[in-house]
């Protein structure tokens, strides 16, 4: 089986490429810059998977590494491939669509091509399909080929080594291999890939990850940041941060249960398993990395506001989610307290105004404002003993 990975980043190589290699696929990697140079030079890369139980490392051979600018060569590889894995960030899907379109046009095989966009985005599959369709002649039988997004469970926290070195790069992640794809959007035969789970309701699966795991992750990051922690694995051990993260995730589950049913939402064992993952020091995940781009993460429908929206629709009161959102407002534009230059955020910060504008009239907006005011009045980053005061529900 031949497979093409477009996007030689952490998810492309540290997750998709590793699973495809385990499925027996021969990998062609497509990308830009020094990482491709390294792959061409070394012909391989490594994936180191670590958790509290230990670590294991695998070396992944790369059959060919191609520059994305070499459209002809890339199209030839896609024409012969059974599967294309894409991990370029959702905003870049349009840019790689011509490569896939060219590959499909050059294709002579009867078997369909399945394209999986490992973007953790609910509409990556349809968007990529639409972008490819735009570049194909009318009447091209695109429906014969599959396009789906993928919800990735693995955290790939970093890359060890320098691309310009002679040694292969090492991608550092946790051992989770589950990824969910939209079954109706893919075409048979789909190669058997470790971790692959076919779901019919992709949006529900996506929201489950976003409103539970991701909501908990940023709660740990934002509150951990406020309390001066540098790493997620340390912050999650702080009793207040842990309690708040659990509360936010429980609220996410309650919202999901109301919308999609309790079976999908999961229960307490899933939450404990997630906390265990956050405790994984092997990932060396800084709170600053997990919390970055707080304005995007505060948007309507995103991990905090989206979960709160489900709760509000179901009449479920929220306390942990607005607390995390208020902490994200403090994080926004702030430097780490450790650098000694952190200042108490000026009131009212624009991020808070944006939330309020986007969520006008909602209970969530009011709760976030109340939590932020509580931080601002009874808590400062400079405070002697930071005790997060928690809202009474």
């Amino acid at each position: 089986v031949r497979a093409v990975v477009i996007g030689p980043g952490r998810i492309g190589l540290g997750f998709a490429g590793e699973l495809l290699d385990r499925a027996g696929a021969k990998l062609t990697v497509v990308g830009r810059g020094e990482v491709v140079d390294n792959l061409r030079r070394t012909g391989r890369y490594r994936v180191r998977l670590v958790d509290q139980g230990g670590e294991r490392e695998r070396e992944i051979p790369v059959r060919r590494a191609l520059y994305a600018a070499d459209v002809k060569a890339v199209a030839a590889e896609i024409a012969r491939a059974r599967l294309v894995a894409v991990a370029v960030r959702p905003e870049n899907l349009g840019a790689i669509a011509p490569l896939i379109a060219a590959g499909l046009e050059a294709r002579t095989r009867k078997k369909p091509l399945n394209v999986i966009a490992f973007e953790n985005s609910v509409d990556a599959g349809p968007n990529l399909r639409a972008a490819v369709a735009e570049r194909l002649p009318s009447g091209f039988p695109l429906e014969r080929h599959g396009f789906s997004g993928a919800i990735v469970s693995r955290a790939v926290s970093g890359v060890l080594g320098e691309p310009e070195d002679r040694e292969p790069l090492t991608f550092l992640g946790d051992p989770y291999e589950r990824f969910e794809v939209h079954k109706p959007s893919l075409r048979k035969p789909l190669p058997e890939i470790p971790g692959l789970v076919r779901v019919k309701d992709f949006e529900a699966a996506f929201n489950r990850k976003l409103y539970v795991f991701s909501a908990g992750h940023v709660t740990v990051a934002y509150l951990g940041f406020l309390k001066g922690y540098r790493y997620v694995h340390a912050a999650v051990r702080d009793p207040e941060v842990r309690t708040a993260a659990l509360e936010a995730m429980r609220e996410g589950q309650q919202g999901l249960a109301a919308r999609y049913g309790e079976a999908l939402a999961g229960g307490e064992p899933e939450l404990q398993a997630i906390l265990w993952r956050f405790e994984n020091a092997g990932l060396n995940d800084p709170v600053a990395r997990v919390g970055r781009d707080p304005r995007r993460k505060l948007k309507r429908g995103e991990r905090l506001a989206g979960a709160a929206g489900l709760c509000e629709a179901a009449g479920v009161p929220v306390a942990g989610l607005p607390l995390a959102a208020a902490a994200a407002v403090c994080f926004d534009g702030a430097s780490h307290p450790a650098d000694g230059s952190a200042k108490q955020p000026s009131a009212p910060p624009s991020a808070l105004r944006e939330i309020c504008a986007a969520q006008a009239g909602s209970g969530f907006s009011d709760s976030v404002t109340a939590a932020w005011e509580r931080f601002s009045s009874s808590w400062t980053r400079d405070a002697p003993l930071v005790r997060l005061s928690r809202p009474k529900t």
């Binding site: 001066g228 340390a234 051990r237 000694g340 405070a383």
Partner: protein, 281 residues
């Protein structure tokens, strides 16, 4: 990552769990932590070499400080850096560094003979301390010239103007830019007394506290503060205090030290560049 902890063996009588918990956390996070107790063993000086990515100088003993100095000379990365720890250990140097940074300290005098302090007593009492002392040992409050005869000094007389403190002892601890204030009775005898209770750090006091760290280029330290007639005076600095009374102290310390070790592994200074001293220590 390999971390060498220069610390005294935890005696049974010592009940603070903080440093054992720090070691346990760091080990659980994958660091190789070796406890180095120079008081417990014969150390051939010629064998002293850098075998860890970072050393943590927790012990307050003279032997540990000297060993840290030898490691520093051999190129070791130490938290806190040896020159800073050595400066903090010497109240003459530490106080002058703080004064130069604009930190409020009591009027401070040096003398070779205690009798030279006598004229100063006309303006009020003095606190005479061993210039390398800790834990309040050997501290004398001197009101009259007659009392100066009792002051043992070992060649250096270190005296500060006495300011009557308001209320209990105030300890301030800093871990990576986070400031914690703890009030406790003096002398604190039991572990519970040493845990004290929190007090609020005003913005003005916080600025003074952080100025002390900037003066030495460190982010991990403790201060003794006297509040007198509404004014704060910094009377001592420690480069690695006990952090008793700081919530989640062991977790915060482990988090800080883990980051320091990571920086050391990457070949960066263990203390971030942003903490560079305003005054050379």
């Amino acid at each position: 990552m390999r971390i060498g902890m220069l610390m005294a063996r935890h005696p049974r009588s010592k009940v603070s769990p903080i440093m054992p918990e720090v070691v346990e956390l760091l080990t659980g996070w994958g660091a190789e932590v070796e406890i180095l107790c120079p008081e417990d063993e014969l150390t051939p000086l010629s064998d002293v070499r850098v075998e860890h990515d970072v050393y943590v100088l927790k012990s307050g003993s003279e032997l540990a400080l000297s060993l840290a100095g030898a490691l520093h000379a051999a190129g070791a990365t130490i938290v806190n850096p040896y020159p800073v720890a050595a400066a903090c250990r010497d109240k003459v140097i530490a106080t002058r560094v703080l004064q130069s940074a604009g930190v409020p300290t009591p009027e401070t005098y040096l003398a070779a003979q205690a009798g030279e302090l006598a004229p100063l007593l006309d303006y009020g009492p003095l606190v005479v301390k061993p210039y390398r002392g800790t834990n309040g040992v050997g501290v004398h409050l001197v009101w009259d010239p007659d009392q100066l005869d009792d002051v043992a000094h070992g060649g250096v007389i270190f005296a500060q103007r006495y300011h009557k403190p308001e209320g209990r002892d105030r300890k301030i601890y800093v871990i990576g830019g986070q400031v914690f204030g703890v009030k406790r009775v003096w002398p604190a005898r039991t572990y519970e007394e040493k845990l004290g209770e929190p007090f609020t750090i005003t913005p003005e006091l916080r600025e003074i506290v952080l100025a002390c760290g900037r003066a030495f280029g460190i982010e991990l330290y403790g201060l003794d503060i006297i509040m007198s007639e509404g004014n704060p005076y910094v009377v001592d600095i420690s480069s690695f205090p006990g952090f008793k009374g700081v919530p989640e102290a062991s977790l915060r310390l482990a988090d800080y030290l883990y980051a320091a070790a990571e920086r050391a592994v990457r070949g960066e200074p263990a203390v971030p560049v942003g903490a560079a001293p305003e005054v050379a220590a």
